[in-house]
Amino acid sequence: MQEKDLLELIDQYLLGRIRPDDLDRLEYLRKTNPDIELQVRQSIEAFNVIKYLRYKQLREKLRQIDSADEKSKTGFLRQQWIVISILIITSFLGFWLWASHHFDPASIAMRHFLRISETGIALYETKNESVNDWTLATMAFRNKNFQEAIIHFQPYLDDTQNEISASAKWNILLARFALSGADISWQEEMIVFQSTTFEPYKSEVLKLLHTVNSPFYKIFIFRLSPQLSALKPRLM
């Protein structure tokens, strides 16, 4: 057998690809020829060293995959945290903006005004007198010209009809609230008005006082607003 053929046979044997008849031939050669037996033994030894090297390299590759996996996992967690933080900040800002608008005295006044003023207009339109001043007052209120609205509603306080005077009083109180918030004198007047007036103003007064005394109103109006008003010029 030629040297080249023998080497090829040993290669096939080492790689586990040897055909059964070739394996028999090699086994026979190993038994009969000590040189070939030595050569095969030496080849097996060298092959084991290569195996060691190969599995060492493979193990290194597996570790690299693990660490890359770990890194991508950390990266994903970091991304998640960033997204969650952004969501929390955005929702907080959104809630804060909504609450500042919702608890703004002008907004509260507008909400309460719209419900009652329609009744007022309906009441007044039944009379033969001019409704021009009342309409002007209503328009001024709707345009948030609260000072002007107070001036226009003032004459109706002495109206003989209780409904008209009550509506005018209510609107004036709302306009004052929109202008200067819930100060003590306003609150006193509201309590007096509530004790003397009738429905639906009575319940509306209670609702408004409840809103004004709520902790949210106090947080957003009394605590944050002054701080923000101090910040505003700086931001501008």
């Binding site: 586990g16 030894e45 060293v49 090297l53 599995y55 193990r59 597996l62 693990d66």
Partner: protein
């Protein structure tokens, strides 16, 4: 000639008809067969399949091995090491020995379990009465006998370092069953005959280094 639509029906090397290639993603046995059939002949595709196989199952196997290790407090090996060792044994078995009868994941976990039990047995010096469950891989695995010649590590490192980088590459590629053509292509050699020539020279060099090492030992 009739036009053939290869995506319609594919018959796997194990003669299982695969009507849709996406079946490979959902059927573990078909996927495992595909892995085995790609890893066994080795070469570049085999290497890719090895990495793909590892990535595919490593998370679930690691979880299972971690749970197994908890059952044996005396086993001090890290789950990662057990997972890696078992994977290497599995690859060795696929490439050079028998085909696993069950899924590759259970084969991998079975080998891991065997490695843990071996270590526990060594550490506690006890004889386990209970036989290893046949479902989890063959019980006669001894990774040390396969490739972890731990006692001679330093000596082997010495041989390898003296063999040279190019020889290391060629010999490991040859062991990974790359064809001579693939080796030539990967290492930018002139062709398969040149790769074969270099491989024989390197193998001879390594054998000589080992022999001279033995002589020095004596």
């Amino acid at each position: 000639m009739f036009p053939v639509n290869l995506t319609e029906v594919y018959t796997s090397p194990g003669k299982h008809p695969v009507e849709n290639m996406h079946q490979l993603d959902h059927s573990p046995l078909l996927r495992d067969e595909h892995f085995v059939n790609t890893i066994r002949p080795g070469g570049l595709n085999g290497e890719k399949a090895i990495i793909s196989l590892y990535t595919q199952y490593q998370k679930s196997v690691r979880t299972m091995v971690s749970d197994l290790i908890k059952l044996y407090p005396s086993c001090r090996t890290e789950p990662d090491d057990i997972v890696h060792d078992a994977f290497l044994v599995m690859i060795h078995k696929i490439q050079f020995e028998s085909t696993p009868g069950n899924t590759l994941k259970s084969f991998w976990v079975g080998i891991s379990r065997k490695l843990i039990l071996n270590q526990v047995r060594k550490l506690k010096r006890i004889t386990l009465v209970e036989e290893v469950d046949e479902d989890y891989g063959s019980p006669e695995i001894s990774p040390e006998s396969l490739f972890m010649i731990t006692e001679q590590n330093e000596q082997i490192e010495h041989y390898i370092s003296r063999a040279g980088e190019r020889c290391k590459q060629i010999l490991t590629m040859w062991l990974a069953q790359f064809t001579m053509g693939e080796i030539a292509e990967q290492l930018h050699l002139s062709g398969a005959p040149m790769a074969r020539k270099i491989k024989y020279a390197c193998f001879k060099k390594l054998k000589n280094l080992i022999q001279s090492g033995h002589i020095l030992d004596l």
